[in-house]
Symmetry: C2
Subunit: 234 residues, 2 copies
DNA sequence: ACCTGAACACCGTTCAAGT
DNA sequence: ACCTGAACACCGTTCAAGT
Protein backbone atom coordinates (compact mmCIF):
# COMPACT_ATOMS: atom_id res chain seq x y z
CA UNK A 1 0.00 0.00 0.00
CA UNK A 2 1.35 3.39 -1.02
CA UNK A 3 1.29 6.40 1.27
CA UNK A 4 -0.57 9.42 -0.03
CA UNK A 5 -0.07 13.00 0.98
CA UNK A 6 -3.16 14.89 2.00
CA UNK A 7 -5.02 16.20 -0.96
CA UNK A 8 -3.29 14.04 -3.50
CA UNK A 9 -5.55 12.93 -6.33
CA UNK A 10 -8.36 15.13 -5.06
CA UNK A 11 -9.86 18.12 -6.77
CA UNK A 12 -8.03 20.65 -4.60
CA UNK A 13 -4.60 19.20 -3.94
CA UNK A 14 -2.15 21.20 -1.87
CA UNK A 15 1.09 20.87 -3.81
CA UNK A 16 4.16 20.86 -1.58
CA UNK A 17 2.27 22.95 0.97
CA UNK A 18 1.72 25.78 -1.50
CA UNK A 19 -1.75 26.88 -2.46
CA UNK A 20 -2.52 26.77 -6.18
CA UNK A 21 -1.70 29.87 -8.15
CA UNK A 22 -4.23 32.58 -8.72
CA UNK A 23 -4.18 35.79 -10.71
CA UNK A 24 -3.37 37.85 -7.66
CA UNK A 25 -0.20 35.95 -6.80
CA UNK A 26 0.72 35.95 -10.46
CA UNK A 27 0.48 39.72 -10.65
CA UNK A 28 2.38 40.12 -7.41
CA UNK A 29 5.24 37.99 -8.65
CA UNK A 30 5.23 39.85 -11.96
CA UNK A 31 5.71 43.13 -10.07
CA UNK A 32 8.65 41.68 -8.16
CA UNK A 33 10.33 40.38 -11.30
CA UNK A 34 9.64 43.70 -12.98
CA UNK A 35 11.43 45.67 -10.28
CA UNK A 36 14.42 43.36 -10.39
CA UNK A 37 14.99 42.93 -14.10
CA UNK A 38 12.70 45.37 -15.91
CA UNK A 39 10.06 44.80 -18.54
CA UNK A 40 12.43 43.23 -21.06
CA UNK A 41 13.50 40.68 -18.48
CA UNK A 42 9.96 39.82 -17.44
CA UNK A 43 9.45 36.63 -19.43
CA UNK A 44 6.83 34.00 -18.83
CA UNK A 45 9.55 31.46 -18.13
CA UNK A 46 11.26 33.67 -15.58
CA UNK A 47 7.97 34.49 -13.91
CA UNK A 48 7.12 30.80 -13.73
CA UNK A 49 10.49 30.04 -12.13
CA UNK A 50 9.84 32.58 -9.42
CA UNK A 51 6.52 30.92 -8.68
CA UNK A 52 8.04 27.44 -8.59
CA UNK A 53 6.06 26.34 -11.60
CA UNK A 54 6.58 25.68 -15.30
CA UNK A 55 5.90 28.36 -17.91
CA UNK A 56 3.02 26.45 -19.46
CA UNK A 57 1.16 26.52 -16.14
CA UNK A 58 0.73 30.26 -16.34
CA UNK A 59 -1.61 29.84 -19.27
CA UNK A 60 -4.13 28.17 -17.05
CA UNK A 61 -4.53 31.41 -15.10
CA UNK A 62 -4.11 33.95 -17.84
CA UNK A 63 -4.85 33.96 -21.55
CA UNK A 64 -1.51 35.30 -22.69
CA UNK A 65 1.26 37.69 -21.75
CA UNK A 66 -0.60 40.76 -22.97
CA UNK A 67 -3.49 40.00 -20.65
CA UNK A 68 -1.03 39.53 -17.78
CA UNK A 69 0.53 42.92 -18.49
CA UNK A 70 -2.94 44.40 -18.53
CA UNK A 71 -3.53 43.04 -15.04
CA UNK A 72 -0.17 44.41 -13.92
CA UNK A 73 -1.09 47.80 -15.38
CA UNK A 74 -4.35 47.77 -13.44
CA UNK A 75 -2.60 46.80 -10.23
CA UNK A 76 -0.08 49.61 -10.58
CA UNK A 77 -2.78 52.09 -11.57
CA UNK A 78 -4.77 51.18 -8.48
CA UNK A 79 -2.06 52.86 -6.41
CA UNK A 80 -3.21 56.35 -7.35
CA UNK A 81 -4.79 57.94 -4.31
CA UNK A 82 -7.81 60.12 -5.00
CA UNK A 83 -7.40 63.75 -3.99
CA UNK A 84 -9.49 65.20 -1.22
CA UNK A 85 -12.69 66.59 -2.71
CA UNK A 86 -12.53 69.59 -0.39
CA UNK A 87 -9.62 70.92 -2.43
CA UNK A 88 -10.23 73.54 -5.09
CA UNK A 89 -10.24 72.22 -8.65
CA UNK A 90 -6.71 73.37 -9.40
CA UNK A 91 -5.17 71.81 -6.33
CA UNK A 92 -7.14 68.67 -6.99
CA UNK A 93 -5.70 68.41 -10.51
CA UNK A 94 -2.23 69.13 -9.19
CA UNK A 95 -2.54 66.39 -6.59
CA UNK A 96 -3.73 63.99 -9.27
CA UNK A 97 -0.81 64.76 -11.53
CA UNK A 98 1.72 64.24 -8.72
CA UNK A 99 0.03 61.01 -7.76
CA UNK A 100 0.16 59.86 -11.34
CA UNK A 101 3.84 60.55 -11.53
CA UNK A 102 4.52 58.91 -8.18
CA UNK A 103 2.77 55.74 -9.27
CA UNK A 104 4.47 55.70 -12.67
CA UNK A 105 7.77 55.82 -10.81
CA UNK A 106 6.76 53.27 -8.18
CA UNK A 107 7.79 50.27 -10.27
CA UNK A 108 10.52 49.84 -12.83
CA UNK A 109 9.24 50.35 -16.39
CA UNK A 110 5.75 51.08 -15.06
CA UNK A 111 5.36 53.83 -17.67
CA UNK A 112 6.01 51.46 -20.52
CA UNK A 113 3.37 49.10 -19.19
CA UNK A 114 0.79 51.76 -18.41
CA UNK A 115 1.35 53.63 -21.67
CA UNK A 116 1.25 50.41 -23.66
CA UNK A 117 -2.04 49.12 -22.30
CA UNK A 118 -5.38 50.42 -23.49
CA UNK A 119 -6.92 51.87 -20.35
CA UNK A 120 -9.72 49.42 -19.63
CA UNK A 121 -9.46 48.87 -15.90
CA UNK A 122 -11.97 50.42 -13.55
CA UNK A 123 -9.26 52.35 -11.70
CA UNK A 124 -8.45 54.37 -14.74
CA UNK A 125 -12.07 55.07 -15.46
CA UNK A 126 -12.42 56.36 -11.92
CA UNK A 127 -9.40 58.63 -12.35
CA UNK A 128 -10.73 59.96 -15.63
CA UNK A 129 -14.03 60.67 -13.91
CA UNK A 130 -12.56 62.74 -11.09
CA UNK A 131 -10.29 64.60 -13.49
CA UNK A 132 -13.24 65.49 -15.67
CA UNK A 133 -15.27 66.53 -12.65
CA UNK A 134 -12.58 68.97 -11.53
CA UNK A 135 -12.32 70.44 -15.01
CA UNK A 136 -16.07 70.87 -15.40
CA UNK A 137 -16.26 72.35 -11.91
CA UNK A 138 -13.59 74.82 -12.96
CA UNK A 139 -15.91 75.95 -15.72
CA UNK A 140 -14.39 74.51 -18.87
CA UNK A 141 -16.63 73.79 -21.84
CA UNK A 142 -17.46 70.13 -22.41
CA UNK A 143 -15.13 69.63 -25.35
CA UNK A 144 -12.32 71.52 -23.62
CA UNK A 145 -12.72 69.50 -20.45
CA UNK A 146 -12.47 66.28 -22.45
CA UNK A 147 -9.35 67.49 -24.22
CA UNK A 148 -7.82 68.80 -21.02
CA UNK A 149 -8.24 65.53 -19.14
CA UNK A 150 -6.28 63.71 -21.81
CA UNK A 151 -3.73 66.51 -21.83
CA UNK A 152 -3.10 66.24 -18.09
CA UNK A 153 -2.88 62.46 -18.11
CA UNK A 154 -0.56 62.51 -21.09
CA UNK A 155 1.62 65.09 -19.38
CA UNK A 156 2.42 62.84 -16.46
CA UNK A 157 2.96 59.86 -18.72
CA UNK A 158 5.15 61.73 -21.16
CA UNK A 159 7.16 63.36 -18.41
CA UNK A 160 7.95 60.15 -16.59
CA UNK A 161 8.68 58.28 -19.79
CA UNK A 162 11.27 60.94 -20.57
CA UNK A 163 12.49 61.10 -16.99
CA UNK A 164 13.09 57.39 -16.85
CA UNK A 165 14.81 57.09 -20.20
CA UNK A 166 18.15 58.58 -19.24
CA UNK A 167 18.07 56.72 -15.94
CA UNK A 168 17.61 53.44 -17.81
CA UNK A 169 20.33 54.26 -20.30
CA UNK A 170 22.64 55.05 -17.39
CA UNK A 171 21.82 51.81 -15.60
CA UNK A 172 22.51 49.80 -18.73
CA UNK A 173 25.98 51.31 -18.85
CA UNK A 174 26.53 50.78 -15.15
CA UNK A 175 26.48 54.49 -14.38
CA UNK A 176 24.58 56.51 -11.84
CA UNK A 177 22.11 59.10 -13.12
CA UNK A 178 24.28 62.00 -12.00
CA UNK A 179 27.22 60.66 -13.95
CA UNK A 180 25.11 60.27 -17.08
CA UNK A 181 23.77 63.80 -16.70
CA UNK A 182 27.27 65.17 -16.26
CA UNK A 183 28.35 63.35 -19.39
CA UNK A 184 25.50 64.81 -21.45
CA UNK A 185 26.27 68.25 -20.05
CA UNK A 186 29.83 67.88 -21.20
CA UNK A 187 28.65 66.94 -24.67
CA UNK A 188 26.39 69.97 -24.88
CA UNK A 189 29.11 72.27 -23.61
CA UNK A 190 31.59 71.10 -26.22
CA UNK A 191 29.21 71.61 -29.15
CA UNK A 192 30.31 74.18 -31.79
CA UNK A 193 29.14 77.51 -30.37
CA UNK A 194 28.33 79.22 -33.66
CA UNK A 195 25.99 76.41 -34.65
CA UNK A 196 24.55 75.63 -31.21
CA UNK A 197 24.78 78.83 -29.16
CA UNK A 198 21.70 78.12 -27.04
CA UNK A 199 22.58 74.50 -26.37
CA UNK A 200 26.02 75.52 -25.16
CA UNK A 201 24.64 78.35 -23.06
CA UNK A 202 21.91 76.21 -21.47
CA UNK A 203 23.96 73.04 -21.10
CA UNK A 204 23.68 73.29 -17.34
CA UNK A 205 19.94 73.96 -17.23
CA UNK A 206 19.18 71.22 -19.77
CA UNK A 207 20.88 68.66 -17.59
CA UNK A 208 19.39 69.86 -14.33
CA UNK A 209 18.86 66.85 -12.09
CA UNK A 210 15.88 68.32 -10.24
CA UNK A 211 13.05 66.46 -11.97
CA UNK A 212 10.53 67.47 -9.31
CA UNK A 213 11.09 71.10 -10.06
CA UNK A 214 10.75 70.50 -13.77
CA UNK A 215 7.52 68.54 -13.28
CA UNK A 216 6.11 71.38 -11.20
CA UNK A 217 7.03 73.88 -13.91
CA UNK A 218 5.26 72.00 -16.68
CA UNK A 219 2.22 71.39 -14.53
CA UNK A 220 1.92 75.08 -13.70
CA UNK A 221 2.26 76.02 -17.34
CA UNK A 222 -0.53 73.61 -18.24
CA UNK A 223 -2.85 74.75 -15.50
CA UNK A 224 -2.14 78.42 -16.21
CA UNK A 225 -3.02 77.77 -19.83
CA UNK A 226 -6.25 76.08 -18.83
CA UNK A 227 -7.12 78.83 -16.37
CA UNK A 228 -6.77 81.42 -19.09
CA UNK A 229 -9.43 79.67 -21.15
CA UNK A 230 -11.63 79.81 -18.10
CA UNK A 231 -11.50 83.53 -17.64
CA UNK A 232 -11.93 84.29 -21.30
CA UNK A 233 -14.73 81.76 -21.72
CA UNK A 234 -16.71 82.65 -18.58
CA UNK B 1 38.31 26.37 -67.62
CA UNK B 2 35.48 27.85 -65.56
CA UNK B 3 33.63 30.99 -66.48
CA UNK B 4 33.79 33.75 -63.95
CA UNK B 5 31.29 36.56 -63.53
CA UNK B 6 32.70 40.04 -63.41
CA UNK B 7 33.92 40.90 -59.99
CA UNK B 8 33.95 37.39 -58.66
CA UNK B 9 36.81 36.72 -56.26
CA UNK B 10 37.83 40.37 -56.31
CA UNK B 11 37.66 42.80 -53.45
CA UNK B 12 34.51 44.53 -54.73
CA UNK B 13 32.35 41.83 -56.28
CA UNK B 14 28.99 42.80 -57.72
CA UNK B 15 26.68 40.07 -56.43
CA UNK B 16 23.89 39.23 -58.84
CA UNK B 17 24.03 42.78 -60.20
CA UNK B 18 23.23 44.24 -56.77
CA UNK B 19 25.62 46.62 -55.08
CA UNK B 20 26.78 45.58 -51.63
CA UNK B 21 24.65 46.71 -48.73
CA UNK B 22 25.32 49.92 -46.91
CA UNK B 23 23.75 51.53 -43.87
CA UNK B 24 21.59 53.79 -46.02
CA UNK B 25 19.91 50.96 -47.90
CA UNK B 26 19.57 49.09 -44.63
CA UNK B 27 17.73 51.98 -43.01
CA UNK B 28 15.56 52.46 -46.09
CA UNK B 29 14.50 48.83 -46.07
CA UNK B 30 13.87 48.99 -42.34
CA UNK B 31 11.48 51.90 -42.90
CA UNK B 32 9.60 49.91 -45.55
CA UNK B 33 9.28 46.86 -43.33
CA UNK B 34 8.23 49.10 -40.47
CA UNK B 35 5.36 50.60 -42.44
CA UNK B 36 4.16 47.19 -43.54
CA UNK B 37 4.35 45.17 -40.34
CA UNK B 38 5.12 47.59 -37.52
CA UNK B 39 7.93 47.62 -34.98
CA UNK B 40 7.10 44.21 -33.54
CA UNK B 41 7.31 42.67 -36.99
CA UNK B 42 10.60 44.35 -37.84
CA UNK B 43 13.00 41.49 -37.15
CA UNK B 44 16.54 41.16 -38.38
CA UNK B 45 15.58 38.04 -40.28
CA UNK B 46 12.66 39.72 -42.01
CA UNK B 47 14.75 42.77 -42.85
CA UNK B 48 17.46 40.53 -44.29
CA UNK B 49 14.89 38.72 -46.44
CA UNK B 50 13.72 41.99 -47.91
CA UNK B 51 17.30 42.83 -48.84
CA UNK B 52 17.93 39.43 -50.40
CA UNK B 53 20.51 38.57 -47.80
CA UNK B 54 20.88 36.41 -44.70
CA UNK B 55 20.31 37.79 -41.22
CA UNK B 56 23.91 37.35 -40.17
CA UNK B 57 25.03 39.66 -42.98
CA UNK B 58 23.36 42.64 -41.34
CA UNK B 59 25.87 42.48 -38.52
CA UNK B 60 28.62 43.43 -40.90
CA UNK B 61 26.96 46.81 -41.43
CA UNK B 62 25.52 47.47 -38.00
CA UNK B 63 26.59 46.50 -34.51
CA UNK B 64 23.20 45.25 -33.34
CA UNK B 65 19.49 45.89 -33.65
CA UNK B 66 19.49 48.75 -31.18
CA UNK B 67 22.03 50.63 -33.26
CA UNK B 68 19.91 50.01 -36.34
CA UNK B 69 16.84 51.42 -34.62
CA UNK B 70 18.92 54.43 -33.63
CA UNK B 71 19.74 55.02 -37.28
CA UNK B 72 16.09 54.64 -38.19
CA UNK B 73 15.17 57.14 -35.48
CA UNK B 74 17.66 59.61 -36.91
CA UNK B 75 16.37 59.11 -40.42
CA UNK B 76 12.79 59.73 -39.36
CA UNK B 77 13.79 62.69 -37.22
CA UNK B 78 15.57 64.23 -40.18
CA UNK B 79 12.17 64.78 -41.80
CA UNK B 80 11.32 67.67 -39.49
CA UNK B 81 11.40 70.86 -41.53
CA UNK B 82 12.80 73.89 -39.75
CA UNK B 83 10.37 76.76 -39.36
CA UNK B 84 10.96 80.03 -41.15
CA UNK B 85 13.03 82.26 -38.90
CA UNK B 86 11.00 85.27 -39.94
CA UNK B 87 8.10 83.94 -37.91
CA UNK B 88 7.48 85.26 -34.42
CA UNK B 89 8.63 82.96 -31.62
CA UNK B 90 5.17 81.62 -30.90
CA UNK B 91 4.37 80.73 -34.50
CA UNK B 92 7.79 79.20 -34.81
CA UNK B 93 7.16 76.93 -31.84
CA UNK B 94 3.73 76.05 -33.18
CA UNK B 95 5.20 75.14 -36.55
CA UNK B 96 7.80 72.99 -34.85
CA UNK B 97 5.22 71.14 -32.81
CA UNK B 98 3.08 70.41 -35.87
CA UNK B 99 6.14 69.26 -37.78
CA UNK B 100 7.08 66.99 -34.90
CA UNK B 101 3.66 65.44 -34.91
CA UNK B 102 3.60 65.08 -38.68
CA UNK B 103 6.92 63.24 -38.64
CA UNK B 104 5.92 61.04 -35.72
CA UNK B 105 2.90 59.99 -37.76
CA UNK B 106 4.83 59.62 -41.02
CA UNK B 107 5.86 56.03 -40.32
CA UNK B 108 4.12 53.27 -38.45
CA UNK B 109 5.33 53.04 -34.82
CA UNK B 110 7.66 55.99 -35.37
CA UNK B 111 6.79 57.30 -31.90
CA UNK B 112 7.86 54.11 -30.23
CA UNK B 113 11.19 54.26 -32.02
CA UNK B 114 11.80 57.95 -31.44
CA UNK B 115 10.69 57.85 -27.81
CA UNK B 116 12.76 54.75 -27.16
CA UNK B 117 16.03 56.08 -28.53
CA UNK B 118 18.22 58.44 -26.56
CA UNK B 119 18.35 61.54 -28.76
CA UNK B 120 21.93 61.47 -30.00
CA UNK B 121 21.57 62.31 -33.68
CA UNK B 122 22.55 65.72 -34.98
CA UNK B 123 19.03 66.37 -36.28
CA UNK B 124 17.60 66.29 -32.82
CA UNK B 125 20.33 68.54 -31.49
CA UNK B 126 19.48 71.02 -34.23
CA UNK B 127 15.79 70.92 -33.34
CA UNK B 128 16.55 71.43 -29.67
CA UNK B 129 18.69 74.40 -30.61
CA UNK B 130 16.03 76.20 -32.60
CA UNK B 131 13.40 75.46 -29.97
CA UNK B 132 15.61 76.94 -27.30
CA UNK B 133 16.38 79.94 -29.47
CA UNK B 134 12.69 80.73 -29.89
CA UNK B 135 12.08 80.41 -26.17
CA UNK B 136 15.00 82.64 -25.24
CA UNK B 137 13.94 85.13 -27.88
CA UNK B 138 10.50 85.15 -26.30
CA UNK B 139 12.13 86.24 -23.08
CA UNK B 140 12.02 83.17 -20.89
CA UNK B 141 14.62 82.75 -18.15
CA UNK B 142 17.36 80.23 -18.89
CA UNK B 143 16.04 77.50 -16.64
CA UNK B 144 12.50 78.03 -17.84
CA UNK B 145 13.55 77.90 -21.47
CA UNK B 146 15.34 74.61 -20.85
CA UNK B 147 12.29 73.16 -19.12
CA UNK B 148 9.93 74.48 -21.76
CA UNK B 149 11.86 72.97 -24.65
CA UNK B 150 11.52 69.52 -23.10
CA UNK B 151 7.88 70.24 -22.33
CA UNK B 152 7.08 71.07 -25.95
CA UNK B 153 8.96 68.10 -27.36
CA UNK B 154 7.35 65.77 -24.86
CA UNK B 155 3.94 67.15 -25.72
CA UNK B 156 4.17 66.11 -29.36
CA UNK B 157 5.62 62.73 -28.44
CA UNK B 158 3.06 62.04 -25.75
CA UNK B 159 0.18 63.19 -27.91
CA UNK B 160 1.07 61.02 -30.87
CA UNK B 161 1.84 58.03 -28.69
CA UNK B 162 -1.67 58.32 -27.28
CA UNK B 163 -3.19 59.11 -30.67
CA UNK B 164 -1.67 56.04 -32.24
CA UNK B 165 -2.55 53.62 -29.47
CA UNK B 166 -6.25 53.29 -30.18
CA UNK B 167 -5.55 53.14 -33.90
CA UNK B 168 -3.16 50.25 -33.35
CA UNK B 169 -5.57 48.45 -31.06
CA UNK B 170 -8.25 48.87 -33.70
CA UNK B 171 -6.02 47.53 -36.47
CA UNK B 172 -5.15 44.49 -34.40
CA UNK B 173 -8.83 43.67 -34.14
CA UNK B 174 -9.43 44.34 -37.80
CA UNK B 175 -11.50 47.45 -37.13
CA UNK B 176 -11.32 50.95 -38.49
CA UNK B 177 -10.52 53.77 -36.07
CA UNK B 178 -14.03 55.18 -36.29
CA UNK B 179 -15.52 51.85 -35.32
CA UNK B 180 -13.20 51.55 -32.35
CA UNK B 181 -14.06 55.08 -31.24
CA UNK B 182 -17.76 54.37 -31.54
CA UNK B 183 -17.30 51.25 -29.44
CA UNK B 184 -15.49 53.14 -26.69
CA UNK B 185 -18.16 55.83 -26.81
CA UNK B 186 -20.79 53.18 -26.29
CA UNK B 187 -18.91 51.83 -23.29
CA UNK B 188 -18.66 55.28 -21.72
CA UNK B 189 -22.32 55.98 -22.36
CA UNK B 190 -23.43 52.80 -20.66
CA UNK B 191 -21.40 53.39 -17.49
CA UNK B 192 -23.42 53.74 -14.26
CA UNK B 193 -24.44 57.41 -14.20
CA UNK B 194 -24.32 57.91 -10.44
CA UNK B 195 -20.72 56.73 -10.31
CA UNK B 196 -19.48 58.20 -13.59
CA UNK B 197 -21.65 61.24 -14.33
CA UNK B 198 -18.94 63.15 -16.19
CA UNK B 199 -17.79 60.19 -18.25
CA UNK B 200 -21.34 59.55 -19.38
CA UNK B 201 -21.97 63.20 -20.11
CA UNK B 202 -18.73 63.67 -22.05
CA UNK B 203 -18.74 60.29 -23.79
CA UNK B 204 -19.08 62.03 -27.15
CA UNK B 205 -16.35 64.61 -26.56
CA UNK B 206 -13.93 62.04 -25.14
CA UNK B 207 -14.20 59.98 -28.30
CA UNK B 208 -14.00 62.91 -30.68
CA UNK B 209 -12.17 61.76 -33.80
CA UNK B 210 -10.71 65.18 -34.61
CA UNK B 211 -7.15 64.69 -33.36
CA UNK B 212 -5.91 67.80 -35.17
CA UNK B 213 -8.28 69.95 -33.19
CA UNK B 214 -7.23 68.30 -29.95
CA UNK B 215 -3.56 68.78 -30.74
CA UNK B 216 -4.18 72.46 -31.46
CA UNK B 217 -5.99 72.81 -28.14
CA UNK B 218 -3.17 71.36 -26.06
CA UNK B 219 -0.57 73.36 -27.93
CA UNK B 220 -2.43 76.60 -27.30
CA UNK B 221 -2.80 75.77 -23.62
CA UNK B 222 0.93 75.14 -23.37
CA UNK B 223 1.92 78.29 -25.21
CA UNK B 224 -0.58 80.39 -23.26
CA UNK B 225 0.90 79.06 -20.07
CA UNK B 226 4.40 79.93 -21.25
CA UNK B 227 3.33 83.36 -22.40
CA UNK B 228 1.94 84.12 -18.97
CA UNK B 229 5.36 83.49 -17.42
CA UNK B 230 6.77 85.92 -19.93
CA UNK B 231 4.60 88.84 -19.00
CA UNK B 232 4.97 88.30 -15.30
CA UNK B 233 8.70 87.76 -15.56
CA UNK B 234 9.52 90.68 -17.88
C1' DA C 1 -8.72 21.71 -11.08
C1' DC C 2 -4.23 22.58 -11.83
C1' DC C 3 0.27 21.45 -13.54
C1' DT C 4 4.05 19.29 -16.66
C1' DG C 5 6.84 17.60 -20.90
C1' DA C 6 7.67 18.24 -25.05
C1' DA C 7 7.26 20.42 -28.90
C1' DC C 8 6.48 24.44 -32.48
C1' DA C 9 7.68 28.47 -34.61
C1' DC C 10 10.03 31.95 -33.73
C1' DC C 11 13.83 35.57 -31.86
C1' DG C 12 18.96 38.31 -31.75
C1' DT C 13 23.59 37.28 -32.13
C1' DT C 14 28.21 34.92 -32.95
C1' DC C 15 31.70 32.94 -35.63
C1' DA C 16 34.24 30.06 -38.52
C1' DA C 17 34.09 29.55 -43.22
C1' DG C 18 33.29 30.79 -47.98
C1' DT C 19 34.07 33.88 -52.32
C1' DA D 1 35.25 43.33 -48.26
C1' DC D 2 31.17 41.27 -47.77
C1' DC D 3 28.27 37.33 -47.18
C1' DT D 4 26.63 32.48 -45.54
C1' DG D 5 25.71 28.06 -42.61
C1' DA D 6 25.16 26.55 -38.63
C1' DA D 7 24.77 26.97 -34.22
C1' DC D 8 23.63 29.08 -29.33
C1' DA D 9 20.68 30.67 -26.01
C1' DC D 10 16.74 32.36 -25.79
C1' DC D 11 11.39 33.69 -26.59
C1' DG D 12 5.63 33.01 -26.28
C1' DT D 13 2.36 29.58 -26.85
C1' DT D 14 -0.10 25.00 -27.49
C1' DC D 15 -1.61 20.61 -26.17
C1' DA D 16 -1.80 15.98 -24.91
C1' DA D 17 -0.84 13.90 -20.75
C1' DG D 18 -0.30 13.47 -15.81
C1' DT D 19 -2.08 13.71 -10.78
Amino acid sequence: MTIRRIGEFTDAPVRRGRPPLDRERLVGAALEVLDEVGLDGLTMRCLADRLGVKAASLYWHVGNKEELLGLVADEIGAGVREPDLSLAWRERLEALAWENRRVLLSHRDAVRILAGATPTGSNRLRLAEITLRALLEAGLAHQEAAHASLLLTDYATGFVSEEVMLANAARKRGMRLEEALAEVRGQFESLPVEEYPSMVMLAGQLTNADADERFRFGLEVLLDGLEKRLIEGG
